[in-house]
Symmetry: C2
Subunit: 217 residues, 2 copies
């Protein structure tokens, strides 16, 4: 996980397990996870800009100074929250789909897990990327870079399964990058539609995805 390389308190040390130093480190790691889980929910609702050390301290019952010590700057906190959100997304959507054969079946599994991820939802305000991309798209910097990387990875995942389906002769040839762009666009809009109470959003997503899975001639 990228955040662990940013010099936070849990990545250092090599002590023998069980000593007082280990307990301190363990407590730090637990506090960190507690704060980040809250941060991801807050960011999905109010955006990453809505994060503050003070509010996170209140929401988790930790001291503001303690939260500040864990993350140093707001940007470090935002990036660590994005890392956790990305990991949770991979666990909820990408990993379970790997059980399916490559191509059409894995693509359908990815979409079903995505619908579940947006409907349930994993984050209080729905997809973390949709919730934050519009705030950061005009602001160059590491937060925007992380959001763009997540979007590109997701679109590449979709395009790859479409390409495998074409190569296997299961669907008609198509521009897989353009199709992945369209599918991602529809997922983002469906995420918003779900927040607005549109009960037909999942059905729309399935119909759009199926429209790309046509029989080869």
């Amino acid at each position: 996980m990228r955040a662990a390389s940013r010099g936070d308190s849990i990545s250092g040390g090599g002590r023998v397990a069980g000593g007082p130093e280990d307990k301190r480190l363990l407590r730090g790691a637990r506090s960190r996870q507690l704060v980040l889980r809250q941060a991801v929910d807050t960011a999905s609702l109010d955006g990453l800009d809505g994060l503050s050390f003070g509010k996170l301290a209140t929401d988790t019952g930790l001291s503001k100074a303690g939260v500040q010590t864990l993350f140093k700057t707001k940007e470090t906190l935002q990036l660590a929250a994005l890392d956790l959100a990305r990991e949770m997304f991979i666990d909820a959507v990408i990993r379970p789909a790997r059980a399916q054969p490559q191509g059409v079946q894995r693509l359908r599994a990815l979409i079903e897990h995505w619908i579940n991820y947006a409907e349930t939802p994993l984050f209080a305000g729905g997809c973390y990327r949709v919730a934050n991309m519009a705030d950061f798209d005009s602001r160059p910097g590491p937060v925007r870079d992380a959001l763009v990387r997540d979007q590109q990875d997701w679109m590449s995942t979709i395009a790859r399964e479409l390409r495998r389906a074409v190569d296997a002769g299961d669907i008609a040839d198509l521009d897989t990058d353009l199709a992945a762009f369209q599918i991602d666009a529809v997922l983002c809009s469906a995420n918003t539609a779900l927040r607005l109470g549109d009960t037909d959003a999942a059905h729309k997503v399935r119909r759009v995805v199926e429209s790309f899975l046509t029989q080869p001639e």
Copy 2:
């Protein structure tokens, strides 16, 4: 314009033109437009949540008390900014397309004007609706209602021209509501892609729209 019915200072009165009272009202109306134009730009970059009487006063050279008197509450200011953004969107995208015949030609004109609106851009941060929908989709209230109304009006406009094209026998029959949902989704994603410097975004939009305009059998 909806904001004018909300009891702001410029909608009252029926004095004879030219008197001191008229000059005061005119000054109020000008200040109001000045603040709102700034508010729309700020909201397209930092979101409607980023609006504050203090910052708008600094940005326009007016007093904070003056700005506060014009709009009373932040929500009134947000709704008035949305009204202005909607009017500007209609002027930039909807009205010019009316010069084209209904159906395929008007739809293409709407899309070209929309691309221009997102590329130029009319608002500092791109499409005002995309910039704010993700922030408000989980927050019921009049701001969300206004954003949803604008989205539904836009999707209805697209669906209507598609329907006219089908009825005229110019394109093959299709689910016009689903197609409008897909086209709007792609436009929203293209707006973000443009902010991120994707020079291919307009081309993608045109290809997607053309994919719905197939010859009837």
